[in-house]
Amino acid sequence: MAPARLLRSRVFRRTLGVVLLLACVAAMVTGLVGWHANTIYTRAAERSIETDAAELRSELVARGFEALVKAIAERSRSGGSGVYYVADAAGTYRAGNITRLPDWRGPFGRGLFSYATPAGPRMAAGLLIQIDGEPRLVVGRDIEDQRELLLAIYRTIGFGTALLLLLGVGGSVLIARHIQARIESMSGASADIMSGNLSGRIPVDGSGDELDRLAVQLNDMLDRIEQLMAGLREVSDNIAHDLKTPLNRLRNRAEAALADSGGAEAWRFGLERVIDEADELIKTFNALLLIARLEAGSSSEGIEIFDVAPLAADVAELYQPVAEDAGFSLDCSIVRDVPVRGNRQLLSQALANLIDNSLKYAAHALPPRSIEIAVKRVPPFVELVVADRGPGIAPSDRDRALRRFVRLEESRSLPGTGLGLSLVAAVARLHRGHVRLEDNAPGLKVVVQLPLARVAQPMPELPPERRLEAEAAKG
């Protein structure tokens, strides 16, 4: 990993920041401990020097110079941390564990000085006291041990901080590299998927950590997308089939008419057949377009709350004569007062499609032929039922028959778009309902289940995203 990229890594920068902060805190804490220890030792030494000096002064005043010399010689021998020097009036050394006046660091006669010992120079703190106006007495305390302790503390701070920094930076690099490698493998996988390999998946290492969970989630999403894409492919295949077949027939008819040597009359007949086929094609196209728009969600325009009973009765009335002429009895059992929130035109069309289907598919059933239209109240639903005594749909085909843009093989040979059930299912979905296909023993029973609307409390609007989609589709 190049240093520039490492510096751009968020993980690296964050970890490094934390490490630096920790190092600063550690250094500060240790430094404070050292500073306090130093202060305490220094005060103790200062007090001890003051006391000692006062005792020696009173010895000098009370018992004279020789007694002082004796006291200092005694103290020097005792082997403590005391540092002493005393000289006579001529400045000659008389007693003490240093033999000459030391070199003061800082102001003369006060503070720190170094003195020689057989083991080498050591540091001490002390006072220079004047006797008869001459600087002849030094009372001090060795502070070399204290200095060494302090130095040890400072060394620890430096060393510790350096170690912390080293480990911290190293650790940050390792963590950043690990995460970056994981993320790079994820982005590599997604680039691969984007380039068209829809079955590709993001690697999961099974650790169950947050990146792993993210990868699992993304993979679930990819599964869903792949399914949708497969659905889309099936849909476009179906559409291609549904439009290309009639286009092919249209072309065949035009060719047949051209090839016909029957003259104007034959051409007229051919052209009429071409127009018929074109009309069928337009119907199929309209049905496909309508299903597509319903699937995308419709705008709220035309959505109202109304009683579905008169709607069903009206559609039944529209079909009554044609059903009777075709030898069907159209039996209605419609309960009143079943409010539904939706689009009248679409629900009428769905019902009309179902009756159209029954008329078409049950046309060759044995008499008595009948179509039953029912509106039932099954709270919290309304059920619109159209049942016939035709051949029905095999249980294995029922799911497929309701899928988007699907027409069953059996329906392709009959006139009409064959998209009736797909359209009904799409209308039901738009109304937040669904369609059930049942065995009418014999025949087909289609149940369109819609939510019963509460009149006093209107149902919620369509979710806004569906409305937006619908707007976008129009734009």
Binding site: A278, D279, I282, K283, N286, L289, L290, R293, S298, S299, E301, G302, D314, E317, L318, Y319, P321, V322, D325, N343, Q345, L346, S348, Q349, A352, N353, I355, D356, L359, K360, P415, G416, T417, G420, K474
Partner: protein, 226 residues
């Protein structure tokens, strides 16, 4: 009738123009919204055929501009968008009728003629008569040759619509829209059966049929041989 066609597809525009001329109407053509608006504002037309998606200015905004300019000519909107709310939008914008592309010429002509008539007789009459057939909208009675004919409510409305447009072709889609208020095409020819039931009531037993089938177009009620 003078008709203005505003349609950017020249082939469709000329096809419609020729169709209108062959049915004895005058027809002018504009290929975009702005020239269509200028023409409509300057000349008086009995009907305007307006494509909804036009280059430059959208058809609906042309209609709104016309209505603001005081032009009352009825407008038939032509559109590739056929869904219910598109229709509602078109009519709200000031259109009088809505026809989805692709359309049959007979359908277009029948609708334009119905629109042209709407302009001359704004108020529907209370009583219609065709030959010896009389429909009274106030008493809901139908008589032919002095005999009362009993009709179902829907049959009454069907006859009423046909008689209001007497002498003119009325298509199946127009009947579905105006009598049943359905804006979709059923797969089965439901209208034909309703018409034949009505015909059984008003024409059966009389020498002269009044309700005629116009082949490839629709139906027409009129006095005299088809």
């Amino acid at each position: 009738m003078r008709v203005l066609i505003v349609e950017d597809d020249r082939e469709i525009a000329h096809f419609v123009q020729r169709g209108l001329k062959e049915s004895g109407h005058g027809a002018e053509v504009a290929f975009d919204g702005d020239s269509g608006l200028d023409l409509a504002l300057s000349g008086s037309f009995d009907a305007i055929i307006m494509d909804r998606m036009l280059p430059g200015r959208d058809g609906l905004s042309v209609i709104q501009e016309l209505r603001r300019g005081g032009v009352r000519s009825p407008v038939l909107i032509l559109s590739a968008l056929g869904e219910v709310d598109d229709r509602v939008k078109g009519l709200k914008a000031g259109g009088d009728d809505y026809l989805t592309k692709p359309f049959a010429l007979t359908e277009l002509l029948a609708r334009v003629e119905a629109l042209g008539r709407r302009l001359t007789s704004e108020e529907p009459a209370t009583r219609y008569a065709v030959g010896d057939l009389v429909l009274d909208r106030l008493t809901h009675k139908v008589m032919r040759g002095g005999e009362t004919i009993v009709l179902q409510p829907r049959e009454f409305r069907l006859l009423e619509y046909l008689m209001r447009n007497a002498g003119q072709v009325v298509t199946r889609t127009m009947l579905l829209e105006n009598v049943w208020d359905y804006h979709f095409d059923p797969q089965t020819n439901v209208i034909d059966v309703h018409i034949s039931r009505l015909r059984g009531k008003i024409d059966k037993g009389f020498d002269k049929p009044l309700l005629h089938t116009v082949r490839g177009a629709g139906y027409m009620i009129r006095d005299g041989a088809g």
